[in-house]
């Protein structure tokens, strides 16, 4: 809240005089202000009079209010708390059982003040050290220490053989061997028909000229087609006659006698 910008003069605020000088600028919050006031008591912080400190702080805030200075909320919270603490310190106990005594609260506040002061001094001591790039310098042009990585490959004989096997197998798969399809060719049919025709003067079905061992499928169908085509060829050559009695009916063939 009251924290100032990160960069500024690292000047601690001038010790506020409790009487007149009312200046809320320059404090890093109420604890910081309390610490500044405490330093005015010029005693060891462990022996600080918290009661006196509370009075100083309250007087300070009261003065600020008289001057209608804007006072941040956390300063007012602290003022209220100190007023409460003061009452606890002045009134004889018994305090409520579940609350710390006034003395304990005062000790806690004294501890917090000491701790903040310790940190402020530690910061000052840090900053007073020789700083790199300002007071001390590293080597301007370090050659550097190269790291050379020497790879060690982890491959087992199994990996090697497996890779070779996989590679071989992939190779086999990648070259497609297509077995020549077995089809009954027209040449086959011409030869077969030519060979058989002389023996059949009477009409017989075309199908009966198919080779006997066909068992259907592609080969048989190719044989039917080839034999039919061959019969047309032979009919054109005047070597046989074709007959079909109805559409899609069986086709009959018979040989023609040799032309005279």
């Amino acid at each position: 809240m009251s924290e100032s910008e990160p960069f500024e003069l690292a000047q601690p605020p001038a010790p506020a005089s409790a009487e007149l000088v009312v200046d809320l600028e320059g404090y890093e919050g109420p604890i910081d202000m309390l610490l500044t006031l405490a330093r005015e008591q010029k005693v060891d912080l462990t022996k600080i009079s918290i009661l006196q400190l509370a009075d100083q702080y309250l007087a300070f805030i009261a003065a600020a209010r008289r001057l209608r200075l804007e006072i941040a909320a956390d300063y007012l919270v602290m003022a209220a708390w100190l007023a409460y603490l003061k009452s606890r310190l002045l009134l004889p106990e018994p305090a409520p059982l579940d609350e710390p005594s006034g003395a304990e609260l005062a000790a806690a506040l004294a501890h917090q003040l000491q701790r903040l002061e310790a940190m402020q001094q530690a910061g000052a001591r840090l900053m007073a050290r020789p700083q790199l790039g300002r007071d001390v310098f590293a080597r301007g042009a370090p050659e550097g220490l190269p790291r050379v990585l020497k790879p060690i490959y982890q491959v087992t004989l199994y990996d090697l053989l497996r890779a070779y096997g996989d590679q071989r197998q992939r190779k086999e798969q990648s070259v497609l061997h297509i077995e020549p399809p077995e089809l009954y060719s027209m040449d086959d049919a011409l030869q077969r028909l030519g060979r058989l025709l002389g023996r059949v003067p009477e009409w017989r079905t075309l199908m009966s000229f198919l080779p006997p061992s066909l068992r259907g499928g592609l080969v048989e169908r190719s044989a039917v087609a080839a034999t039919f085509a061959a019969s047309l060829e032979l009919a054109r050559a005047g070597k046989l006659q074709l007959r079909q009695d109805s559409a899609f009916g069986p086709i009959y063939i018979r040989s023609l006698p040799e032309s005279p």
């Binding site: 960069f7 500024e8 956390d74 409460y84 903040l116 530690a122 020789p130 700083q131």
Partner: protein, 224 residues
Amino acid sequence: MTDATSAPVAETDPHADQLRLLEALLFASAAPLDEASIAQRLPEGSDVAALVAELGEHYRGRGVNLVRIAGGWTLRTAPDLGPRLKLEQSVTRKLSRAAIETLAIVAYHQPVTRGEIEEIRGVVVSSGTLDVLMEAGWIAPKGRRETPGRPVTWVTTDQFLAHFGLADRRDLPGIDELRAAGLVGPRPEFVLSEQALPGEATADDEDEDEEDEPLYDEEGPAER
């Protein structure tokens, strides 16, 4: 005058050879070298600690000194010569009081949460403050506190140690005395921000400071 190819004088003396190599290593390295890194590069069986001590003795009082920084060894110009070197200084902007206090709190109380920093300073830490310190490379977030809200904790970096010429975190000025005085370590019994007045809202937020966190090695805070 030496020339670049001057033969090593001490080729045959293993000790002198190790000392030369150590010197070259420390000169060549851009960052402080810890003893393990040195040992990796010196011949097997070299007594690193003794060699470092001997080299340090050699550089005592010279324009360049052997110093222990951030857990390692490195050479630095002698601090008294700084102003006279008239070298280009890396311009460090002057830090604000808030930033210096915050840096000190992180250094002495690490790992520390933002809430804990605020508790010590009694004021909210502006985000710019942590940014500035992080940008300088001096603090870094490290893990989270396992308390409600799992707040990030902050620590100082090796760069912080290097910048301020510290061997390690235990080397922070006055840390032992502060610890002995109870000003670093366990929390005070009563935290003002928690002492809400009746009817008064507490100043903050998430108190992520609790009770059972392991970072302080001393006895835990007393119950209120």
